[in-house]
């Protein structure tokens, strides 16, 4: 599995979509058309649309998006370990890091892309529920 496809699956949830889409756009023409295998959240916000908007926002530069991918990868790895029962982190610790990652994203976009920031803030709790649920996590990220 390539780094790109791993990244894309990891980003099946908003924040993660940010980074992989950047990679896809940069290196794999046409691959950005792939859609996330996730149902829309209950508040009817279109995740695909939101992911595209995050990927394409000019509020964050390409290098910054790739820099943030480090934290995304680490969180994804720790969440996977948690769901497999071999984690050294508690769910509360993982939630704290997730919240701070979203904070990091929001401070970068909220003044330059306010509508996007508002929508990200709106779905953040719903996304965490998906990450915290082992079945949903598996379905989303495999």
């Amino acid at each position: 599995m390539t780094i790109v496809s791993v990244g894309w699956r990891v980003l099946g949830l908003i924040i993660l979509a940010l980074f992989a889409a950047t990679v896809l756009q940069a290196n794999t023409p046409g691959a950005g058309d792939r859609k996330l295998a996730l149902a829309a959240p209950s508040d009817s916000l279109d995740l695909d649309d939101l992911s595209d908007r995050i990927a394409n926002t000019k509020a964050i530069g390409v290098l910054s998006k790739l820099s943030m991918k480090r934290d995304v990868d680490t969180l994804e790895k720790d969440l996977r370990a948690f769901h497999k029962g071999g984690a050294s982190r508690t769910l509360e610790q993982l939630r704290e890091r997730y919240d701070l990652m979203v904070h990091n994203l929001l401070v970068q976009i909220q003044d330059k892309d306010a509508e996007l920031a508002k929508d990200v803030a709106r779905v953040r709790d719903d996304l965490w529920k998906r990450l915290a649920d082992p079945d949903e996590f598996d379905n989303a990220l495999g």
């Binding site: 790109v4 934290d71 890091r97």
Partner: protein
């Protein structure tokens, strides 16, 4: 002092230092102006996300595509490079990148540092923090600054200096 006087060769105690200073400032401004704001912001964010305090980017040297030497107002320079595997490597020239923090506490510390600095505030190093509730912190920095990070009802992240 007239401009003509200032241009005369100086001897001994230099009377033309104000002009020299002015030229230096103008030269520096000219050098900075050629760096696109978007690139400057992107490099600043990359250095900050790597856990380094930059204050602001004062100069950028492009070494190759995706490979930059960034000079910060702190006096430190960093090499910011996009690697073959689409990572971003930030390091002091000639040195290996700083290892990523592994402990939960270190990771939280890194996040708090980046949130404050990417919000436009200045925190040279996070030395302590208190978590009040989910997403709400009081953060102390080595430079003496104290910040309150919170999320308002609209979902915006507010970073306020106290």
């Amino acid at each position: 002092m007239r401009l003509g006087e200032a241009m005369r060769p100086c001897a001994g105690c230099c009377r033309c230092w104000p002009l020299a200073a002015l030229l230096a400032v103008l030269g520096s401004a000219a050098a900075q102006s050629v760096i696109p704001d978007s690139l400057r912001a992107d490099l600043f964010a990359s250095v900050t996300l790597a856990g380094h305090y930059c204050e602001r980017v004062v100069d950028v040297e492009t070494r190759a595509e995706g490979d930059y030497l960034v000079r910060c107002a702190t006096g430190d320079s960093y090499r910011v490079r996009r690697t073959e595997n689409n990572r971003v490597s930030v390091s002091l020239p000639g040195q290996a990148p700083t290892p990523e923090p592994l402990e939960h506490r270190q990771q939280v510390q890194r996040h708090l540092f980046t949130i404050i600095n990417l919000s436009g505030q200045a925190c040279d190093r996070v030395t302590g923090w208190k978590r009040y509730s989910r997403g709400s912190y009081r953060v102390q920095c080595r430079n003496g600054a104290v910040f309150r990070i919170a999320v308002d009802v609209a979902g915006r992240v507010a970073v306020a200096k106290q």
